[in-house]
């Protein structure tokens, strides 16, 4: 009796198995890469109503973050400035610029400029700016090099893992409290690592790792 199936048929199960594994692997890799906040959230750069340039105002004019985000070191919320903050300068500097028309209008009518919110944690997460910046955690760890951005984008993933990576080892991220607003700071002192560990120990810097710390 002749064979019903040709000889290659013996290889079919192996092919199918091999092909399926490859496909499943690719799908898992794809999901991991594309369906986590490191992809969906990081890089979000909305068009803002006024083309405000951080690198110009921070690097060239030399403004401190707190001139505009005034309450970042005093409250849980980092305030986005109202238009009269801009008018402190722009009532005179570039007073007729078209780019600032909306700011002037908002200043006169009292209606707020609708800045698009970029960083937004879920509402079941408790976050507090003041406790972080007053303990030597710089803006740069969470927001990236804002002082070099012409337009702000979402630099980090802001997953739960991202928060915990630092909460488990704060000494790797902490810096002197007066250097928090200097986003270019790099430790020059070779002994800084030990000092940071001492700082974390002496000042009892204890970031919560328990669920109720952030989900209250």
């Amino acid at each position: 009796m002749s064979n019903i199936f040709p000889e290659v048929a013996n290889k079919v199960p192996r092919w199918i198995l091999f092909g399926l594994t490859l496909k499943v692997l690719a799908i898992i890799a794809g999901l991991y890469y594309y369906f986590t906040p490191s992809y969906t959230r990081a890089g979000y750069q909305p068009v803002q109503p006024v083309s405000f340039d951080h690198s110009l105002h921070v690097k060239q004019v030399g403004l401190d973050c707190r001139y505009c985000h005034t309450f970042v070191d005093r409250s849980e919320h980092s305030t986005v400035p109202s238009s009269n903050t801009c008018m402190n300068c722009h009532s005179v500097v570039k007073a007729d610029s078209d780019k600032l028309a909306l700011v002037r209008e908002s200043y006169q009518t009292g209606e707020s400029i609708e800045w698009v919110k970029i960083h937004d944690t879920p509402d079941y997460v408790y976050f507090n700016h003041a406790v972080h910046v007053n303990r030597g955690v710089s803006c740069v760890h969470c927001h990236g090099q804002v002082d070099e951005m012409e337009e702000v984008y979402h630099a980090k993933s802001f997953t739960m893992n991202f928060c915990l990576d630092c909460h488990r080892n704060p000494e790797e991220f902490i810096r002197p409290v007066d250097k928090v607003y200097d986003l270019q700071w790099e430790p020059e002192d070779p002994e800084w690592e030990e000092q940071a560990q001492a700082f974390v120990h002496d000042w009892k810097v204890m970031p919560p790792e328990s669920c109720s710390g952030c989900h209250r």
């Binding site: 992809y39 890089g43 750069q45 109202s82 300068c89």
Partner: protein, 221 residues
């Protein structure tokens, strides 16, 4: 057959990567929420948007003819029975004027090193861009501004003679082209800045006699 499948496989991967790009690439689109869960809840957020009110803001102004009992930055204090309201009701402390409406000629709070350091920090944030760290009025903004925004040189005799209360008043409400900083600095912080301005003025006109005997050696005097 094998080869075709491999080619299609690789082609698909390249297709996906070229359409979706890499992690961290900039995008104008709002982040995708696959499972919104309870990420966005019906609650008032600081500086949030609220269609209920005419001005569309969550943040409300205090009702007219009321005085706030402290503020959100001191929540524990505001709600405790031992809340100390003296700073709130102290007219001289809040306005920089005495009962007769004259500007105060001295600081209405205790002067110490802590207050001086607070003043230094706040001055460097809010004033130095225009008045410069030294107080001579040549801050960074000068390079960009038309001559009409010539920030005052705080080290001149005019401002050395000016009373504390008047400087406080300028910080609170501004003067001519300078706008007020009442929304950014609490009364205590404003007095701290006044104190620091006084220190800058003294430093600019200092002589060797102003330095304590013991410290003169460090400066080679």
């Amino acid at each position: 057959m094998n080869r075709i499948i491999t080619v299609v496989y690789i082609f698909l991967i390249i297709l996906v990567v070229s359409v979706l790009g890499f992690r961290g690439s900039k995008s104008r689109k709002e982040p995708l929420y696959l499972f919104p869960d309870m990420d966005r809840q019906a609650r008032y957020e600081p500086q949030g948007e609220n269609p209920f009110f005419e001005d569309k803001m969550d943040d409300r102004l205090p009702p007219q003819n009321t005085i706030a009992r402290g503020n959100a930055l001191d929540r524990a204090g505001v709600f405790s029975s031992g809340f100390d309201a003296t700073e709130l009701t102290d007219v001289a402390f809040n306005t920089g004027r005495d009962e007769a409406g004259e500007f105060l000629k001295e600081l209405p709070i205790e002067v110490n090193h802590e207050l001086m350091e607070l003043g230094r920090e706040r001055y460097d944030i809010f004033c130095a861009v225009c008045h410069d760290e030294t107080g001579d009025g040549n801050g960074a903004v000068k390079n960009f501004a038309p001559p009409t925004l010539s920030s005052a040189n705080l080290l001149t005799q005019l401002y050395i003679d000016q009373s504390e209360g008047e400087i406080y008043n300028t910080i609170s409400y501004g003067k001519n082209t300078m706008m007020g900083y009442a929304d950014k600095l609490s009364p205590k912080e404003r007095w701290a800045v006044v104190l620091y301005v006084r220190a800058l003025q003294r430093a600019a006109n200092a002589t060797a006699d102003d330095i304590p005997e013991a410290k003169r050696g460090e400066l080679g005097l």
